[in-house]
């Protein structure tokens, strides 16, 4: 699907945060396609609690952008009916942990409708979830819920880590006929980049090598990409060459890009904020091992949050994976 729209070519480079890139993506999608509608809690005149939908209500009016009642199952459930009637709803779950009331609608209906109806009903819905921590949020405002969604067949689950991807991936998500869980790392909302919109980065389903290296592959996504890049930077001082891959898409998983990197470096670590046990990193490690066992020089490591509920703000620095913790973990591998 083409993202070009009249007038866009005249845009000049601008400094955008990830939040404003997301905002532009929704605006451009709504301008291109009159069936795109946006609703959720406080997304109207306020522009969302993170201002991702800033100005859209004023621009598109109440029929296209609306504040819904405060009910997440209701937001997703009504989006399903709208999609059945030819619309492309983009809905916002205000914070990660508040998507749980909508779990039933997402898992039982959004994910399964195409399958239940033998392909006859498509649900082109985007569910935006601001997720993860590192912003000093109070309880229930810092969860990483990706494993719930990635273990649900029928969903596409993606997470951008920078403004350019945020724009490009959200455009692609809105244009997709598959429902997409679009996970926005809250701590990266204010990350800036100089961009000329519209920007098209790698296809949404592909992982991207952000930094080449020969000794270790670090796999990160969303909030931990920045952490992985910082780790690679630090490691050069120690003479260690680290390759950093931004997974971007958690489901589907880009086996080709990641396996190729593994076969080059033979050492892989996965970094995420979510708890380790039964987490997304476990899937990645198992999957890569099954496919590349004889290319591995060491077991695949997971550097993650602890297996505890997300801690309160004064303790989160002890919880989050840091470059030091990542370097310490990989230094414990046997290096021959």
């Amino acid at each position: 699907m083409s993202h070009t729209i009249a007038g866009v070519a005249t845009r000049s480079p601008e400094t955008l945060t990830m939040a404003s890139a997301l905002n532009a993506a929704i605006r451009d999608a709504m301008t291109d396609d009159p069936t795109v509608v946006l609703f959720g809690e406080d997304v109207g005149p306020l522009g969302g609690v993170f201002r991702v939908t800033d100005g859209l209500y004023a621009e598109f009016g109440e029929t296209r952008v609306s504040d819904s009642p405060l009910a997440e199952s209701g937001i997703v459930g009504t989006a399903i009916g709208m999609a059945m009637y030819g619309m492309r709803p983009v809905v916002e779950m205000q914070f990660d942990a508040f998507s749980y009331p909508a779990f039933q609608q997402i898992v039982s209906h959004v994910a399964k409708m195409r399958n239940r109806t033998r392909g006859k009903i498509a649900l082109p819905i985007v569910i935006r979830i601001p997720y993860a921590g590192d912003i000093g949020g109070v309880e229930h405002h810092s969860d990483s819920s990706e494993a719930y969604w990635t273990s649900t067949p029928g969903l596409t689950v993606v997470s951008p880590s920078n403004p350019a991807d945020a724009y490009s991936m959200l455009r692609e998500a809105i244009a997709s006929d598959d429902p997409v869980i679009f996970m926005e790392p809250k701590s990266r909302y204010w990350t800036k980049a100089e961009l000329t919109l519209p920007v098209t980065t790698a296809p949404m389903a592909s992982a991207v090598i952000l930094r080449e290296g020969t000794d270790v592959t670090l796999l990160a996504y969303g909030p931990t990409v920045k952490t992985a890049l910082a780790t690679a930077e630090l490691a050069t001082a120690e003479g260690l060459s680290i390759e950093v891959i931004d997974l971007r898409s958690l489901s589907p998983f880009d086996d080709a890009t990641v396996s190729a990197s593994l076969r080059k470096t033979s050492r892989v670590a996965v970094i995420h904020e979510a708890a380790q046990f039964g987490g997304y990193g476990a899937e990645v490690a198992a999957r890569l091992t099954e496919r590349n066992f004889f290319y591995l020089a060491a077991p695949i490591l997971r550097i993650t949050g602890f297996d505890i509920p997300y801690p309160s703000p004064k303790l989160e620095e002890y919880f989050l994976p840091t470059p030091d913790r990542i370097l310490a973990a990989i230094s414990r591998w046997e290096w021959s």
Binding site: S68, P69, G81, H109, T117
Partner: protein
Amino acid sequence: MSLNVESTRIPTVLAPPPLRLIDDAGHPVDESQTGGFTLPDTATLLSLYRRMVIARRFDVQVTALTRQGRLATYPSALGQEACEIAAVSALDSGDWLFPTYRDSIALLTRGVKPADILASFRGDWHSGYDYYEHRIAPQATPLATQALHAVGLATAAKLKRDSTVALTLLGDGATSEGDAHEAFNFAAVWQAPVVFLVQNNQFAISVPLDKQMACRTIADKAIGYGMPGYFVDGNDVAAMFAVTSAAVDAARAGKGPTLIEGLTYRIEAHTNSDDPSRYRNAADVDVWRGRDPIERLEKFLLSEGALSEAERASIAQEAEDTAAATRECMTVQAVVDPLELFEHVYANPRPALAEQRAALAAELAEDSATTAASTVTTDSTATTANTETDARA
């Protein structure tokens, strides 16, 4: 003249008598008692009668198939025909219906073929009809979830300035679910053209209504959301049709949603795996058998001279034909293709699923090779199927 609510589980002191146009004995109710609703004309009543008789015969037939072990499960709607038929009959062909697992006879009445209705109960696929042709959503199993879909669809229609109305069916137990409340509230706030029709059959599997809720009627809840609510005799198809049609008309006219409660009774078990003797007594069931919605309308039509013997016989014949078609469709084995498992998960094919599909295809090829090796004569159909499998792997 009022319904004997003594034997129902509705709190008797507080509950008002439900609205009705024809009483248990088949007599018209005095117009001063009908809240402004009037009896539908004779042609409409005859059509409702015909639809109920056919639906009943289908329901009885499918229950029998379940007892014979030829179907895995079937939630019967016996005794609830007035609610089901009113729901479908109040809609225009452009309107949408959002049914539950129990509402198969509503599907039948809206023109879905028995084989397609039974696809899910036979285990062929989760759901099996053309949703856009019939304008019926897949039958929902997670309770009350479909009510939100109805509100969403109705809202989309309103945004597009279409005159489409969505009607959703819910059980009494389902009204305790959060999704029911969210749907009522969304619909009222958004003034969605949607009608909620709750079939209060007084049980949620084994749980009676007084353990489900503490208020006097489900219809009363409408007040709290800011929409009209009607408590209707769910065994009086005339009243159910009059009220539901009025609600559909109001929705179409931009007047927002309506909540309708039809007070009825589930005569059969919840499904074939349920033992109702553990939670209700036979005497209660008998009382409700005596309030049969079909017999009631039949008495009325006969006493009005509106139903001839010839007409009755022809309707009975149509019902028999439907039952025969239903039995017939069971003899045709659905063709299930294991490789179709991977076909409807994503719009955009995934490499990982292609790998799993190829693995299953290889397994199947090996299986049939083994089978072929152990058979003396070559089965040409098996060979064909095999070739197709290989071609797609």
